[in-house]
Symmetry: C2
Subunit: 287 residues, 2 copies
C-alpha cells in the first residue's frame, strides 16, 4: 500500500495528526520523574505504548541512539520493531543524503528490510537529485520520504532564505520536492515524497502549501521549540489533510510538568491534549 495513503488512513482512523518524536535526550537517566533503572529501549517503548492511541506515527531520532553507540543502535532497532508491532507508522529521523551509490546504502538501511528499516526516512537535499533518487526509488515499494525544505531551527534562514532569483532557496527546494513526488500521488491525492517545514515558520508553511499542493508536510517545532497549534497546522490544506505535526520532548518528558503522574500517564495525557489542540486548530481553519 502507498505510504501517503497509509498515513492518511491512519490519520482519519485515529483522528490525529500528531507524531511522537522519540528523542531520548542524553541526560535521560538523571531526569526527575524518569525511573533510572529502565533501559533506553524500555523507556522509549513505554512512551510509545502510552501515546500509541493518540499519534498517527512515531519518529525516532537517530542521533540520540547513535550517541549511545552499539547499545543505542540495538535500542533503536528494538524501538522500531515495537512501534511496528503496535501498528504504528515509523519515520526514521536520519536526515541522510550523499552521492548516489552512498544514498542507495542509506535507503537500504532505513527503507529496506534490515534492523533499522522504517516506513519512511527524513533526507537532506543539499546534494541534489541524484542523492535523492535512491530514496525516491523506494517509494514504489510503499515507503515514504520527508525532504528537508525549511527547517525549524533559529538559523535555518542562513542558507535556506538566501535570495535565489527573487525568492528564497527553500522555495527552489520545494519546487524540486513537488517534482520528485509528482509520480507518486496516491489515492488520497497526496504524494509519498513529503516535505519538512518547521512549525516555527508558519508564514513559510502556508507558502509551502501553495508551492507543493500535493505534498504532505511534516511540521516539527510544536511544543518545546515554541510553535503554537495554529502555527503547526499552517500547511494544512482546506480539507484538513496534508500536515502531520511532530512533538518530541514535550511528550517524552511530559512527567516533568506533571510530577503527580507516572511517566506513562503524563505522556498519554500530554499526547491526548496535543492531539485535541491540533484538531481544534485544524477545525478553526476550515473555510
Amino acid at each position: 500500500m502507498d505510504f501517503a495513503d497509509r498515513l492518511v488512513e491512519a490519520q482519519q482512523q485515529k483522528r490525529s495528526v500528531l507524531v511522537l518524536g522519540v528523542d531520548p535526550q542524553l541526560d535521560t537517566p538523571t531526569s526527575p520523574g524518569i525511573p533510572v533503572k529502565r533501559t533506553l529501549a524500555d523507556f522509549c517503548c513505554e512512551i510509545i505504548e502510552a501515546c500509541a492511541d493518540f499519534v498517527v506515527a512515531v519518529k525516532p531520532q537517530l542521533a540520540f541512539f547513535e550517541a549511545r553507540g552499539l547499545d543505542g543502535m540495538a535500542a533503536f532497532a528494538k524501538v522500531v520493531r515495537f512501534a511496528r508491532s503496535r501498528g504504528l507508522i515509523t519515520i526514521a529521523d536520519a536526515k541522510r543524503g550523499d552521492i548516489g551509490s552512498t544514498s542507495a546504502a542509506y535507503a537500504e538501511a532505513f527503507l529496506g528490510g534490515g534492523d533499522f528499516a522504517c516506513d519512511a526516512v527524513t533526507v537532506n537535499p543539499y546534494l541534489g537529485s541524484d542523492a535523492m533518487a535512491p530514496f525516491v526509488a523506494r517509494v514504489r515499494s510503499g515507503r515514504g520520504l520527508f525532504v528537508l525544505v525549511k527547517t525549524s531551527n533559529p538559523s535555518s534562514g542562513e542558507f535556506q532564505d538566501l535570495d535565489v532569483c527573487g525568492r528564497p532557496l527553500w522555495e527552489a527546494v520545494a519546487d524540486r520536492v513537488r517534482g520528485w513526488g509528482s509520480d507518486f500521488i496516491g489515492g488520497c491525492g497526496l504524494s509519498s515524497v513529503a516535505a519538512v517545514v518547521g512549525a516555527t515558520y508558519p508564514a513559510q508553511a502556508a507558502r509551502a502549501r501553495a508551492l507543493m499542493p500535493n505534498t504532505i508536510v511534516l511540521a516539527p517545532g510544536f511544543g518545546a521549540q515554541g510553535a503554537s497549534a495554529a502555527d503547526a497546522v499552517a500547511a494544512a490544506r482546506g480539507d484538513g489533510l496534508g500536515v502531520i505535526v511532530n512533538a518530541s520532548r514535550s511528550l517524552m518528558y511530559a512527567v516533568r510538568m506533571r510530577a503527580e503522574q507516572s511517566m506513562a500517564e503524563a505522556a498519554a495525557q500530554a499526547a491526548r491534549a496535543m492531539r485535541d489542540e491540533l484538531n481544534q486548530a485544524l477545525a478553526a481553519r476550515h473555510w
Copy 2:
C-alpha cells in the same frame, strides 16, 4: 593536539595526501577476488592494514555499515578501533546535521568517546550555524570537521550552484566555513574546521582555495568517480598543504583490476601508486 596540526604532521611524515575511503559496497561478498568467508570488519581491516603506510587518514562511510544493521555498526566500531590502533587519523563520513540539540547528540556520537567516535566527521550545512555549533565546539578538544561545500556528484550544482547575489550558493557556504574555522587555526596555519570540495570540480576547488585560504579541503572523487590527480589537488596551497584526497572503491576493490594479486597486495599497490601520482601532481603545481 589540534586536529589540523595532527593531519599536517601525518601528511608530512608519510609524504601522502591520500585518504582511504572505507566504503564496503553492498555487493562485497560476491565481488571477484574478495574472499567470501571474510567478515565485513575483517575485510575492511585487511584493506586498512594494507594501505596504512600510504594514507594520511581513513574515512569509513557510515551508510555502508548502517545498511547492514547492527552487525554493520559493530563492524564500524571495530574498523575505527583498528584504524586508531594503527595510528591512523579517522574521519567518520556521516554527513550529519540537525537542529542544535540533535546535532549535539551527533557530535557526541562521532566526536565523543563512544563506540563510533572518530577524530573528525563530515557535516551537512543546510540547517545553518546553530546546527554546526555543537560540532565546532568539539574542535577545542582536538577534533575536526569537514563541512560539505561543493560535493562531487553530478547533480551537486542543482542547489549548490544556484545564483545567490551574483555567486553560487556554495560560495556563500564557503564564506561561512571560513568564519566558523577562523578561531581554530593551528600552528600549521590551517583550521580544524575543514571543507569538502569534490575533485570532480577542479575550477571550483581552485576558487574554494581563494575563498578559504586557511581551510583544509577534503577532495572526494579521485579514482572511481573520474577525477584526475591534477584535478584532485586543485585546492592545494602554494606550499603544497591544505588538501587531502579521498579514494574509496579504487582501493577497496583494487583486486578487480589486478586479478593476479591478493586483495591486500592489490590495495597496497594501488594506494602506493595513487599516493605517488598525487605527490607528482602536487610537485607539478609548485611555482
